[in-house]
Amino acid sequence: MTSLEVKLGPLSLKNPVMAASGTFAFGREYSSFFSLKLLGGLVTKGITLRLRPGNPPPRIVETPAGLLNSVGLQNPGLHGFLQDELPFLQQIGVPIIANIAGETIEEYEALVEGLLPSGTLAAIELNVSCPNVSKGCLSFGADPRSLYQLVTRIRKLCPLPLIVKLTPNDIDITEAARAAEAAGADVLSLINTLKGMVIDIEKKKPFFHLKIAGLSGPAVRPIAVRMVWDTFKAVKIPLIGMGGITNYADALQFIMAGASAVAVGSANFVDPLTIPSIVEGIERYLKEQGYSSPKDLCGIAHQ
């Protein structure tokens, strides 16, 4: 009997395929394409304390087998999320994970305190890895001491499962992983986008206003798989792997490298039905190979 259910520490998912933060908004748009009940979990767009308009356009550019984005955490803010987005998310019936981003520890604390009373979130994901904002966020994720401090403070007031989303930029990701684990994180998710750049040769200037943007898509997949591989060896807590997953075979690479679950990001833009097709593909693979659970494959490539 095959079951797709996975446990990530205190967090249970009925299948291991989630929608990655920042690529799925708050779910509404994709509900025109498939029943969101098929998701293993939904990680929201990054939420900040106050509304953020986001960066001026241009915000995206296609790159070889991927894209660079400089959206800049456009979101309705904590209040807007609670009022306009959470009611829709609650009725889906899958674990909803709120991704939060702050400029200071106090902002992260205020976000957690503001989100807890809703009582319906499955977990909090700390975004310490967005490369597209000028303050906070990545500055926590790229420094093990700041990260330890932040996660320690949030852990104290957050009874929900706590996920820390790691950055592949400016730090040895295993160091960040150890710091987050030591500070009490339940789960790690990796990777956020890689810092990248495009120069507009007509204007002879960087394409984006903020010059550097975040690279995602299949182009980053081998890097992401390697980082999951390394991090799996470095920590004991479960991992959510992501970075350029477009089909079930890509997803299995992450699982075999050590991820307990995966998240799909940029591929949703190309095919809105990517996630349900990956769930089906993993189930088929497990049956064909005679495994009863995705956890039997977690980290199997290390053996």
């Binding site: 986001g54 960066n55 001026p56 356009p57 894209l67 809105p272």
Partner: protein
């Protein structure tokens, strides 16, 4: 599973239009029945690889529900459009659509005035088709860099429909921007006019000024780079005026889902995007 926005479509005709522009006719019965002028489809380039990665958004230029076909007119601007133009008849494509918010219908009192800049003619061609079907008279202003950029000029009824051309090089029609004849026309025109426009940003900005000055209503269709095309990624942003009219505060709408058609007065256009 709801998949009404996902379609497999087949190329039934593919040919060059005018200079650097291309024509595709696609068998797409559901799209042909559902599409409204101003809406677009988001096409996935065929192939096994992941490069090019993203879909390509293209305005629908006409729909023929009885035949189950739609038309696309597009300019060859890069790898994606070049690849689309190379595809042969019979090629199967996957697309999402119809997407976005289209043009709103003119009121009984409003006379439609369509203003196209270059290949920005595509969504307006669909609107023209819809107006012709309803036998609603209209004015059509079309600007391009040179005479060889125009196509299908015979597709107008010269008795009922006013067609005005302008070119940057003066090779046909008015020598200069198309907005100049639009303005001259409005100076001498009585009654309500509703302007529908699609084209380069400087043209749209001129029309914003002209519409305000002559009290005409204006709807513009915008073009922007898109990833998802359905409103989730927030990649195609356009600055809009805040509801509270605070000039200092900054708000962005999604071109794909809140547009691509916007009211002329609601968007803040910038030649240098975002600056």
């Amino acid at each position: 599973m709801k998949t009404s926005l996902c379609h497999n479509i087949v190329i039934v005709d593919s040919k060059p239009l005018a200079r650097g522009q291309h024509f595709l006719s696609l068998k797409a019965p559901e799209l042909a029945a559902a599409a409204r002028p101003g809406q677009f489809i988001h096409i996935r380039l065929p192939g096994e690889g992941m490069d090019p990665f993203l879909r390509r958004p293209l305005s629908i230029a006409a729909a023929f529900p009885a035949q189950g076909t739609i038309l696309l007119f597009f300019r060859l601007t890069g790898r994606g459009t070049a690849a689309l133009a190379r595809l042969q008849k019979g090629q199967l494509l996957h697309c999402l659509g119809p997407l976005g918010k289209g043009y709103s219908w003119p009121s009984a009192k409003q006379k439609p005035l369509l203003v196209a800049g270059g290949i920005g003619v595509a969504p307006l061609w669909f609107l023209k088709q819809a107006l012709q079907r309803k036998k609603i008279p209209f004015y059509f202003f079309w600007g391009a860099s040179s005479v060889d950029h125009f196509f299908y000029l015979h597709d107008f009824n010269s008795k009922k429909e006013l067609l005005v051309l302008a070119t940057d090089d003066g090779s046909v029609g008015y020598h200069g921007p198309i907005t100049k004849p639009v303005e001259l026309f409005l100076q001498n025109k009585q009654g309500d006019v509703k302007i529908y426009a699609c084209g380069p940003v400087p043209m749209l900005k001129s029309l914003q000024r002209i519409a305000l000055h002559y009290g005409a209503s204006l709807e513009i269709s915008l073009e922007e780079r898109m990833a998802c095309g359905i409103g989730a990624c927030l990649g195609c942003a356009v600055r809009v005026k805040a509801a509270d009219d605070h000039q200092s505060s900054c708000h962005y709408s999604r071109v794909c889902a809140d547009g691509p058609v916007f009211k002329g007065e609601e968007v803040i256009l910038s030649d240098e995007p975002g600056s």
